[in-house]
């Protein structure tokens, strides 16, 4: 029985940790300047604040640059195979609800080969935290287009431009019944941490899309919106309970329009005319509309929590069935099982 061996996190006091406690002894091997570094730092700094336990924390990843993440965290970790991290994490989280299970992967890992596991994880709502590092490129294999690369993108495998419309990861997640979806970017540690914290706290599957710069194969993909100089005018922070408003002067906002949402000037519609953000709407339609606001992440783009609803976590339900069976029928009796079909004695 695993329970006897393991400390039960709930009962004991969590010993305080520092960033250093969360750093593994492995040399970090991303390209100098890669956005992955700042994400790693954000999380390593956040962990002590969350009061998480290292031994109760597991990072599971697939393959890709992003997927190297687990090596750098002084927690349990599995660097698995391309695309399968959500499936493996699903088994782990079902088996061990006492753990904090994080999944890290790139846009290729999670949305190309691993797309199906991702959407099924979101639908099932098992308590795992999925961080999708979207750099709109295949980094590790040296620069092919990914399912989030813009149409027309020129890469090694699309020398005259890719023909495919990209996925919008937030839309995909909402279409797949996600109970928690957020977006952040690698240039804003504080915002990343806020999103990671929310993801951690969410009961059920949470997905955080992180716009991440691959300075080697897709440099500046999000520059037009995340650069300090333009950020205020190009990123639209979603804050629960507040009117959606942005711009260096707060001069812009988002309002409903024809079933979707549109950008407006506050001067034109007034603050009352702005859409008040509500993460908890049971109907994901508004969240979906918000995900469509920017056709591509080079126009004003919402960041923050699009949706956060509590709709029953899967592992709990599944394990409750085991408990209920035991309550109703008692702990299984192997002898009785073997004798449960008609028997005869010689």
């Amino acid at each position: 029985m695993t329970d006897t061996l393991l400390t039960d996190g709930a009962s004991d006091e969590v010993p305080p940790t520092t960033r250093a406690d969360w750093q593994s002894d492995q040399e970090v091997r991303w390209c100098p300047g890669c956005g992955d570094y700042s994400i790693l730092t954000a999380l390593q700094l956040l962990m002590p604040e969350l009061g998480a336990r290292r031994e109760k924390t597991v990072f599971v990843s697939g393959i890709g640059c992003a997927a190297r993440f687990p090596y750098y965290m002084n927690t349990y970790g599995m660097h698995s195979i391309h695309g399968r991290a959500p499936a493996i994490a699903t088994g782990l989280a079902l088996a061990r609800p006492d753990l904090d299970v994080w999944v890290v992967g790139g846009d290729g890992d999670m949305l190309s080969i691993g797309g199906n596991h991702l959407i099924h994880a979101l639908r099932r709502n098992i308590d795992i935290n999925i961080l999708l590092f979207n750099n709109q490129i295949y980094g590790l294999t040296k620069g092919q287009f990914s399912p989030t690369s813009e149409k027309g993108k020129i890469t090694k495998s699309s020398p005259v431009g890719s023909c495919a419309t990209p996925f919008n990861p937030v839309s995909v997640a909402l279409g797949a019944e996600a109970s928690f979806v957020a977006r952040t970017h690698d240039m804003d540690r504080h915002h990343m941490q806020e999103m990671f914290r929310r993801s951690y706290e969410h009961p059920g599957t949470s997905m955080v899309e992180v716009y991440q710069n691959c300075n080697v194969f897709n440099d500046g993909a999000f520059e037009t919106i995340t650069k300090k100089a333009v950020r205020d005018d190009m990123l639209i922070p979603l804050r629960h309970g507040e009117p959606i408003r942005f711009g260096s002067e707060g001069q812009f906002g988002v309002a409903r329009h024809d079933g979707g949402v549109e950008l407006v000037e506050v001067a034109d519609v007034g603050v009352e005319g702005l859409l008040v953000h509500d993460e908890t709407r049971p109907d994901p339609s508004t969240a979906f509309a918000l995900s469509r606001l920017a056709e591509s992440p080079d126009r004003p783009t919402p960041i923050g929590v699009f949706r956060a609803v509590d709709r029953g976590e899967y592992a709990g339900a599944m394990n409750a069935q085991v408990d209920e069976a035991r309550a109703a029928r008692g702990k299984g009796d192997l002898h009785a099982l073997l004798h449960s079909l008609p028997t005869w004695t010689v």
């Binding site: 597991v58 687990p70 499936a87 493996i88 079902l94 199906n116 192997l334």
Partner: protein
């Protein structure tokens, strides 16, 4: 033991083979099953062979829609569901047409005469009624208007005639129960339990059952009455078990013996789904079942659960194993316990999904990229699935390795009496999770090395949640000991070697030579061919020949004495339900001129077929 002739059918015989055949909607599986249970309770030894079409409901009355169930009952221990049936129950013309070829010359055909009318005859492709004329001259034909007699029996019960008709399989069951003096009580009780709450159905089925029984007594069937005495089996309590159920229970037992929760990650596929179904019902045994989105997620979730310290299991059939290959390779690299069950079916591709075959052995051994060895086991009989599920789990847990367990569609669905083990006699499976540091680093600090090996060359099973042991594992090559990612050439060579060595070193029992070890010929088998080979060897030895039988349960690693044993014979015959896979392994490993005997028709070998082949091999006698 020799072939029992049924001409004329005498009052007491040592064994009988009956095949029930009808339309998929006629309830033949259920009829066969009930007859089997009654026979088991009566004390016969038995073996069964169910067969059904790939369609859920193939068009009624057609050849494609025929479902059949063969049962072999005897007064002594038997090994197979039998060669050619002595008795065929044909519920419609299609059943007769599709099954006739297999019936023993001089055997009995019991036909539901009502169905032999124009439409059904045409659907079966009969130009005229075979019950009329000389078509069946070689058989004893008993025509019984089962449908009308059943309706008649139900007419005062308030059951609609169309509904009454549905009970005709119970009429057949009643008739056969009379012919073979089966106890009636178990079936009546079963009807009452099964249809509880549906009183009209109970009444109709019971009425039909009684009517069938009465028909045997009152009609002129007296010379068909036969007794097969109970068998002299080792004493103990028996149950009649199918391979899939036995396998599921074996997994339950492995959980019990190891104290681990069993986590089954699975995706439905014929003929493996019933293992998922059975385990889904056994939650009180601390069993979690997870129906994944596909086979890759199924094995992935099982691997994740194994990493978390559960007994991770995935069950599937051939196409599913093909999909799982990459993840199994990861498990080889991670060196975590995992049980993969392949209930083999006819291939390639979708092939014959409801038929049996055993052509996945080489895939089990070699079907992954890179050098990724793992233990491979195969069960030999339905009941053996229980033992091998425990054995596979034991090896997985003790050696921290994925293990492939092979069964097949025949084992999965057929059944045999199983002498139930005493639960307390089952050997516990020791589990040891790592709980502390195991190494001191250069600076004198205590550290944990996830790839530090024990005397079995297995690494520690250090599950998340354990304080201090935080570590990272993955599919990249890693340094032996520390487990850090390593691209070093020598280390890779070393690790490839270690992974091979630690599997090769797993202790497996020596093979036993049965039959007559003094002859020149040995028949080597694996998996479900065991029964047919053992039966054939028994018969041939009974005829005075010297033929040995060696059966392999462990396909990787192979038993240590295998080479020596093989070299003791001049001829090595290897019957397999494939084009020759084990035979390749034996030739390669031992350089013996082993020769294949192939059957790839979706059907198991019969002892009779093998008997002929062995006799042919011995010099042509009796052909």
């Amino acid at each position: 033991m020799t072939e029992t002739s049924l001409e004329p059918l005498v009052t007491e015989v040592d064994r009988v083979i009956i095949r029930f055949a009808g339309d998929s909607g006629d309830g033949m599986q259920l009829t066969g099953d009930r007859f089997t249970t009654a026979s088991a309770l009566f004390g016969n030894d038995l073996a069964t062979l169910p067969e059904y079409p790939a369609e859920i409901r193939a068009p009624a009355g057609t050849l494609a829609g025929v479902s059949s169930f063969q049962v072999h009952i005897s007064d002594h221990d038997i090994l197979t569901p039998g060669d050619a049936p002595h008795v065929l129950v044909a519920m419609n013309p299609a059943a007769l047409k599709s099954q006739l070829d297999s019936v023993l010359d001089g055997g009995t055909i019991i036909a539901n005469a009502d169905t032999f009318e124009e439409r059904n005859l045409a659907k079966a492709g009969y130009a005229h009624n075979p019950l009329e004329g000389d078509d069946l001259a070689a058989y004893r034909v008993v025509q019984v208007p089962m449908t009308s007699l059943t309706k008649e029996a139900c007419k005062d019960l308030g059951v609609k005639p169309r509904d009454a008709e549905r009970s005709k399989n119970f009429f057949a069951l009643g008739l056969l129960s009379w012919m073979y003096s089966r106890p009636l009580e178990p079936t009546i009780e079963w009807i009452e339990a099964k249809f509880a709450g549906r009183d009209l159905v109970i009444a109709a089925n019971k009425a039909a059952f009684s009517a069938g029984h009465a028909y045997g007594e009152t009609a002129e069937l007296a010379d068909h009455r036969v007794i097969v005495q109970p068998a002299e089996l080792p004493s103990g309590t028996y149950t009649n078990i199918s391979g899939n159920t036995a396998l599921a229970w074996g997994l339950v037992a492995a959980g019990h013996l190891s104290g681990l929760r069993v986590f089954l990650g699975s995706y439905p596929i014929t003929p493996a789904s019933d293992i998922l179904h059975e385990l889904s019902k056994r939650k009180e045994f601390d069993i979690a079942t997870f129906q994944a989105e596909d086979e890759i997620a199924a094995v992935g979730s099982a691997l994740g659960a194994a990493y978390g310290g559960h007994l991770g299991v995935t069950t599937t059939s051939g196409p599913g194993v093909a999909l799982k290959a990459e993840t199994i390779g990861l498990a080889v690299s991670l060196e975590l316990p995992l049980v993969i069950v392949n209930v083999q079916r006819g291939g390639p591709s979708t092939g014959l999904p409801t038929k049996t075959e055993a052509a996945d052995l080489l895939m089990a051994l070699y079907g992954r990229h890179g050098e990724s060895p793992l233990p491979v086991l195969a069960a030999r009989t339905p009941a053996d699935c229980f033992d091998q599920a425990i054995e596979a789990s034991r090896i997985a847990i003790e050696h921290r390795t994925p293990v492939m367990l092979l069964t097949d569609g025949y084992l999965a669905n057929s059944s045999e009496p199983w002498l139930l083990p005493d639960v307390d006699d089952l050997e516990p499976i020791p589990v040891e999770f790592a709980s502390g540091f195991n190494q001191v680093d250069e600076d004198g600090n205590e550290v944990f090395w996830p790839y530090l090996r024990d005397e079995k060359l297995a690494r520690p099973w250090a599950i998340p949640g354990t304080p201090d042991l935080m570590h990272r594992i993955g599919g990249l090559e890693k340094e032996d000991g520390s487990g850090s990612v390593s691209y070093d050439s020598d280390n890779h060579a070393h690790m490839v070697g270690i992974r091979a060595e630690r599997i090769a070193r797993i202790p497996v029992p020596d093979v036993e030579v049965t039959g007559d070890p003094d002859g020149d010929l040995v028949v080597v088998g694996w998996g479900s061919t065991w029964g047919a080979i053992a039966g054939a060897v028994r018969r041939v030895c009974g005829m005075g020949h010297s033929v040995a039988h060696v059966h392999l349960t462990h396909l990787n690693p192979l038993p240590a004495n295998m080479g020596e044993v093989l070299r003791g014979f001049e001829k090595v015959l290897v019957p397999e339900m494939n084009l020759g896979q084990l035979v390749r392994l034996l030739r390669d490993e031992y350089l013996v001129d082993a020769r294949p005997v192939s059957k790839v028709s979706g059907q198991p070998f019969t002892a009779g077929e093998l008997q002929q082949i062995i006799l042919g091999e011995l010099g042509g006698e009796d052909r």
